[in-house]
Every structure is written in C-alpha cells, then in structure tokens.
C-alpha cells in the first residue's frame, strides 16, 4: 500500500488533505469533526483584528442541474474573540497531535501587531502559519488581505516582519486577483517565507436575482464582489500554480495547492503541478467532511496502480510538460475517428464542428438516425467533437504525424516553411 503521508517543512500529516482556512476550520467543534473524519490537517480560519460579519454571506453558480459549480463568499476573517480561538487550538492540538495545525493570520498592518499575534499563536501550539495575503473583500479596504498580496513591496515587508518573529514554518497565501502571482510570490520567497500556498478566492459576481435585480449574495438590497472558489476555479488555480512551480525563485519552496479541489483526482493534478499538500473548502462545505475518505482511498489506489510509494515520487512530475507555445511540435497531427458501434447518433459532434469549427464531419441522413463520419482531410484535430460526445471513447483522436521530425514555430519561420492551406 502506498504511503500517502506528507512532511511539509517538518509538519507531518497522515495524508496531504488539509482543510483550507475558512468557515469549516473556525472553531473546535468543526475541526474535531474534521479530524475524526480523517483530514490530515487544517489551516485554522484567519485570526487577526476584530471584525463583524454580515448576513447573508455566500452565493453560488449552478450549471446543468448541478449545484455549486462555483461558490463565492463575502465572509471576513474569524469574528470570534482571539482568546477563544487560541484556547480551542490548544485543545485540538492536544487531542490530535498527529495532524497538521496551521494557523492563518492577518494582523493589522504594522509590525507590532504581527509580532504579538505570532507570539500568541505559537504559545497556543500552532505548528505553522499561513499569511492571508489573499482575502479579496472587506479586509482589503483596511489595507489587509489582497491589498497586501497585490503589491509585492508591501507583501515583502510584512513577510519580513513575520520572519523576524516566527519560530515555526511560515506559508504565504497568494491572491489570484493579479495579472500574475509570480511577482508577489518572488517577493515573499526573497523575504524568507518558508512556503507558498495558492490560490485564494477570485473577485466575482455570481449572478443577479432577476426579480429584485440585486446581485448575489443579498445584504439588505445590496451586494459586494465576493471571493469565487469551487470547481469552476480549478483550471485557473492550476495555471497559477504552474507559474509558481516553474519560476526559478518561487519553485525553491514547497507549495500547498488550493482552488476547487473536490476529489482525489483534482488533488493529484495539483500535486503533479508541484503542490505537496492540497487544501479543500468548497467541496467540504457542499458535502461535509466525509469526502476525505474517498480522497485518501482514491489517491492510495492510484499510487499503487502507478507504482508510486510516497507522494514525493510524483509531486511536480507534470510541471515540465507545460511549455511555451513556440516550443510545441508543429509536425504533430491527429484526426478524429468515430466508432460507429458506439455512436448514439446524437449529432452533437456534427453541429459543433459544422457551426463552430472546421466542417469536418459528414452527415448522412437517416430516419430517424443519421450517420456521422469524419472528413479526415478537413479535420485539424482540434478535439471539439470528442469533447462534446456524450459517449466515452466513441470519438478518439488518431495520431497522423505530418512528418516524423520535431519542428517548432521558431524553426518553421526560420526555414521559411509554408503556412496552413485555407
């Protein structure tokens, strides 16, 4: 059986699945339930200056009959008194010493406040910190959260304050509300952060009530931009993670991946792009803590199948497979092939290709079932038909190289080779 435990900067957890800093981790009762369910660690909901929350706080995007494809919130950092949080952290660490207890921090924007908060949390038994430079709403107006993470200079300054005081590992959490996460990531690593985590939530409007015309979430006839998360943001998170994993400076520190992770497969993808641990929130908020069971079992089974003994064996394995466009092999070509035995005659491949792609599918009328076949000479191998086909492996892409040798765009131009025929 594969060993799915992780060691993150000396912080050990029985599996790489942590709960992200959020409502599921804001008090003892939740965290104890999470650890009973099997979560490897938690990032305790952000502690810092006193705040007051509003009602309501969440909204979501449904898609094709599925609820909560995307989720947003306008909740602030923990609104419970600091003393109670610290007392509960101490109690939970005592009950579950084998689980990771990271505490998320967002102090007022001065050195003394950060130092005081760090001291108190270390005394309470925190095993590591996560600096919340990402929260995109509420705190930013007060110069905190994303306001810090969006400015590499300010981020660097705060990390330096933290590193002066902290005696336990420090993770800095990055905001995605920037054109690139790399500048802030670099600044934080240069300032001494021991690790990075990403992404925090993305500013969003999830929708508008078409009766009241008030956007969601509703607060007394008004709304504000909320932080978007959940399955919808995963591709964006993976892209940002890749840029951190590929940068010479930021790749030196371990990463905790966050952003729409709902299953063991999602987690493996984050780990393949460089995350050592992953953090989950929306999926747990939708289904409860029990989802961790399949995450652990699925990861373990996949590792056994692939022959990975520990997570170290595969973390980062896909990073190098994402390259620059001009390095792609122009001589690679594949074309779609429809398995007529599997075809259910829905016509979705045809209409997608005919209306929006390359008119590469033949339609032979039938009553009531049409027959669809690929015009190989027209097919550019875009994948659209395969993507919209509702039957697994009915449409497959068959490799038909243009020429055996690798050639990229730069070489192509240099050699003066012809462009596409149209």
């Amino acid at each position: 059986m594969a060993d799915i435990s992780v060691n993150f900067l000396g912080i050990k957890s029985p599996n790489p699945f942590w709960l992200a800093s959020a409502p599921p981790t804001d008090k003892k009762i939740n965290v104890v339930r999470a650890f009973e369910a099997g979560w490897g660690g938690v990032v305790w909901k952000t502690l810092g200056s006193q705040v007051k929350n509003v009602s309501s706080r969440y909204s979501s995007v449904d898609f094709g009959g599925h609820r909560v494809m995307g989720f947003n919130n306008i909740e602030l950092i923990s609104d419970r008194p600091l003393d109670i949080n610290l007392k509960e952290i101490t109690e939970v660490v005592k009950m579950y010493p084998d689980r990771a207890m990271i505490v998320s921090l967002m102090a007022d924007n001065n050195r003394a406040s950060w130092h005081e908060l760090i001291k108190k949390c270390e005394d309470a038994g925190a095993m590591g910190f996560e600096l919340n430079f990402g929260c995109p709403h509420g705190m930013t107006e007060r110069g905190m959260g994303a306001a810090v993470g969006q400015d590499p200079e300010i981020a660097k300054m705060v990390v330096e304050w933290v590193m002066e005081k902290a005696t336990i590992p420090v993770i800095t959490k990055l905001t995605p509300n920037v054109h690139s996460v790399v500048p802030t990531g670099k600044a934080c690593v240069e300032a001494g952060t021991n690790a990075l985590s990403l992404i925090n939530t993305i500013q969003s409007v999830t929708g508008i009530d078409l009766d009241t015309l008030v956007p969601n979430p509703y607060v007394a006839g008004k709304s504000v931009f909320g932080g978007y998360c959940g399955p919808a943001v995963k591709p964006i998170a993976l892209k940002m993670l890749t840029t951190i994993s590929q940068n010479e400076i930021t790749k030196k520190v371990p990463i905790s991946g966050i952003g729409g992770i709902s299953t063991w497969k999602d987690a493996v993808e984050f780990m393949l792009l460089g995350a050592t641990t992953v953090q989950v929130c929306t999926a747990a908020m939708k289904h409860g803590f029990r989802i961790v069971e399949d995450m652990c079992e699925g990861l373990s089974n996949w590792m056994d199948e692939k022959g990975y003994k520990t997570v170290k064996d595969f973390v980062g394995k896909s990073v190098e497979k994402i390259t620059h466009w001009e390095d792609l092999d122009i001589n690679y070509h594949h074309v779609a092939s429809i398995n007529q035995d599997k075809c259910i005659h829905c016509g979705l491949c045809y209409i997608a290709c005919e209306d929006t792609s390359h008119q590469s599918i033949n339609l032979t009328k039938g009553q009531p079932y049409n027959t669809y076949t690929i015009k190989e000479e027209e097919c550019v191998g875009c994948n659209l038909c395969k993507l919209v086909c509702p039957v697994d492996n009915c449409i497959t892409m068959v490799e038909k190289r243009v020429a055996p040798e690798y050639i990229n765009w730069k070489d192509w131009q240099r050699m003066g080779l012809p462009l596409n025929d149209h």
């Binding site: 005659h345 829905c346 016509g347 979705l348 509702p390």
Partner: protein, 446 residues
C-alpha cells in the same frame, strides 16, 4: 354471473381511474430529467414525432426556466400537445427513438416533460398565439376532434373565420369519447378544447351532424372551403352467431358511456371477453377490470408478434390482471334467455404473410369455450361509408381518397385524420389538420 353497475366504492373508482402516468410533482423533478437531455442535433425524437415537435428545444427551455417558451415550442407544432403528452404511444415514437436507448439508459421522459410545460401553460391560461386580423375568409370544418381542432387553430391564427360542426355535445373527438379514462379525464378534454379555441375566430356548433343537421352542399355554398375531419366511429362487426345477444357491446360505445356517464353508472360483467388487441381493446379490457369485472380475457387471433398495441399497453393490461389468449378467434356467442353465457372460439394458427405484411391466422379446426357474461368487441373501427357515399365523396371502403394528403375529389373540400387514414393516433390527426390548413390556405388565397 351478471352484468352490474355500481360494483365499487367511490374511493375505489377514484383510485382505479386516477392518472396512470402522473405528472412531475415538483419543478426540481422536471429539472433533473430535463437536464439529462443531450440536446441532440436533427434529433431522432423530433423526427419520430408525426407533428415534428422540436423536442430538444422545448426541453432545453425547461432547463432555462423559460416554460412559456417551452409550451409555445410544443404548441407551435402540435396544438394538442397537452393531450398528446398523455395519450401518445411514446414508446414507439419520440421516447422509443431517444438516443439514450443506445446507451441502455432510460430514455428522456419526453411525454412527462411535455405535460409539464403544456399543463403549466393551460393552468396559467397563457395565450401564446395571436390571431391575425380577420381576412373575411370563412372555412367550415366537420368534426371537433384532433384533426378538426388542429386545422381550425392554424386557420384562425391566419385570420380565417372557422365554424366547426360537431355531432356530439363536446369537442375533442376520440380524445374525449374514446380513450381510457386513466389517460385523460373528461375535464381535461374540455379544458383543452377551450384552451385551443381561446384564440378566437373558432365557433363550434355542437350537436350538428353532417348529413343530418347540415349537408355538405350547404357548407360548400356558405364557406370558402370545407375540411372534413369526422373520424371513424363504427365498430367492426364480428359477423358471428349470437352477436345480437344482450351483453355484447362494442368497445367504442363502452368507453363512450364510461366517459360520459360516470364510472358507477357503467355496468360490467363478472366475466368479460374483449375481442381484439389494439389500443382500444386494451383500453376496454383495463377499464372493464377497473370497473370491477372479476375476470377479463383478451382474445386475439394472431400472436404477440403481430399485435397492434404496444408492449407498454399490453403490460398495463397484464398488470391489471387481464388474461390473454393468443391464436383464438370468436366463432359463436351462446346465450340463455337472450343473455350471453358463453363464447366459442376457434383455435388458430399462423399461415402465409398477407398483404399487410403480417402472417394471417387460419383455423386449426379445434375450438374451446369460455364462460362469459359480457363480450366487448374491439376488432377495429370502420369508416362512415354510407355518409361519404351519400355526399358523393370518392373513397375506398369508406376511407376518403385524397390527393396531396388533403384534397378530395370535390372542389374546395379537403379531408384528413381518421376519416382518411382509417384510424391512427391523435398525433397523426393533429398533423393531418395542419396539412389540411396549409392546403386550404393555398386554395383560398389563389
């Protein structure tokens, strides 16, 4: 053994004749199924619908909560879309063609979704069509059944004034008078007729039969065109001894009475034989059983492979406890004191393939008898042959002969539906009405 009415309690009647295909109880339930729809292109379901309802479109409109648009999509192709959602044999039409069948998954419940949209529209009394300004043209339609109503609606939308002559006191035709009560209620049929005619410009003259209260000649003189949609209605006779005995009824009459007089008023035997295996035979058998008959036996001269009803319908009869005897043809009905006591049947075997493409039954010489007190004849309906002959309309065994789907031999007289095809589904009649309206439009604007 006796033929009696009032066999059951009020609760039993209610239970036995409640909706056999209940609607979605909640919006969420409809959404789950609507979201399963793949939104096929040039969809097999649409191509399998005689009225070509754009099924993927109306289901997509349910998922976007555009129920008004969904209902309009349905009614644009089939103004009786609400009734058809209850009575169509969808297992051999749209749902039978659903591509999910290839994946061994349950097809989309198209009829149930169609019912969801159309009933919502009817309940809210949404007027989805506007009648164009009156053109001053007038068309007479004979028969307020599916073909007549469908034709009338299309014509009225185009600003033509329509008068329908209907021999019964209610509209809807066989929908109202000839279909099992657990599929559509009399109230629904009435609502549907009112919903269709709410567009205006359609005047229905009830209790006006062609050849009695009004003649074709009068209609031809008073209107710009005439559309004949009077259906079929006469039950095929068995032509065997004993057919005149008390206790021998025809299925159409039986169902007609059930639909017009209330369940407890309808008499049914202890032991009932139903002759035939079409949809009407199944309806008659199940209704007899649900009225309290102890034994109901369906008698069919061929085998399951040749039966005209669908498997789904046969299953309903079986689940209701009806027995089935294949390869049996009625030979003689025996009675005592003028009342049915026995049915004698020939045992049949299948011979050569006949002109209809089915193997024809031939007697083996063996017979058997059943003790029954009621025989319901459901061996098909025959057209109103004397009526069409009397009006000089060209026909084949009573079925009106038409050119280009709708034109009769008489100038300005068109026909469609069961009186042309001899008896098909409601949905076929609706399409016939549309075709008729299109031909009439071409004719009167010439």
């Amino acid at each position: 053994m006796a033929i009696l009415n009032n066999r059951l309690s009020a609760e039993q009647y209610k239970e036995h004749f409640s909706d056999i295909h209940p609607p979605f109880e909640t919006k969420e339930a409809a959404m789950v199924e609507a979201n399963r729809c793949l939104f096929c292109y040039d969809a097999p379901c649409m191509k399998s619908c005689p009225t070509s309802i754009d099924v993927p479109k109306f289901i997509k409109q349910i998922t976007t909560e555009n129920i008004k648009g969904s209902a309009r999509t349905i009614f644009s192709s089939n103004i009786m879309g609400a009734g058809c959602s209850k009575v169509c044999p969808v297992e051999k039409l749209c749902e039978g063609a659903c591509v999910y069948n290839f994946m061994d998954e349950a097809p989309i419940p198209i009829a149930k979704l169609q019912r969801y949209s159309t009933e919502t529209a009817m309940k809210n009394n949404w007027h989805l069509f506007e009648r164009k300004k009156s053109t001053g043209k007038k068309v007479a339609i004979v028969g307020a059944g599916p073909a007549g109503l469908s034709c009338a609606h299309v014509l009225s939308r185009e600003g033509i004034d329509v008068t329908i002559y209907e021999k019964e006191s209610k509209g809807g035709g066989l929908m109202t008078y000839g279909i099992a009560a657990y599929k559509v209620t009399p109230e629904f049929c009435e609502d549907e007729v009112n919903y269709i005619t709410a567009i205006g410009g359609i005047d229905i003259k009830y209790n006006h039969a062609l050849g009695k209260e009004v003649t074709l000649e009068q209609l031809q003189q008073s209107y710009d065109a005439v559309y004949l949609a009077f259906g079929v209605g006469l039950a095929r006779q068995l032509d065997i001894p004993g057919e005149q005995l008390e206790g021998v009824v025809d299925a159409i009459r039986f169902i007609y009475h059930l639909r017009t007089q209330g369940y407890s008023a309808i008499s049914v035997g202890d032991s009932v034989a139903v002759i035939g295996m079409g949809m009407t035979a199944i309806d008659a058998a199940t209704q007899a059983k649900r009225l309290g008959a102890k034994h109901v036996t369906l008698i069919y001269r061929r085998t399951e492979a040749e039966m005209p009803c669908t498997q789904h319908e046969l299953d309903i009869a079986k689940l209701d406890g009806c027995e089935i005897i294949w390869l049996a043809a009625p030979k003689e009905i025996i009675g005592q004191n003028g009342k049915v006591t026995q049915l004698i049947c020939d045992v049949m075997k299948l011979g050569e393939v006949d002109s209809g493409g089915r193997r024809s039954p031939i007697p083996t010489g063996e017979t058997f008898s059943l003790n029954v007190d009621m025989v319901i004849k459901a061996a098909g309906q025959i057209p109103f042959e004397s009526l069409v002959s009397q009006e000089q309309i060209e026909h084949k065994q009573g079925k009106i002969t038409v050119k280009e789907k709708t034109a009769t031999n008489l100038k300005g007289v068109f026909a469609g539906g069961d009186c042309v095809n001899g008896g098909k589904e409601v949905v076929d009649a609706v399409q016939a009405g549309k075709d008729g309206a299109a031909a009439i439009m071409r004719y009167i604007t010439l």
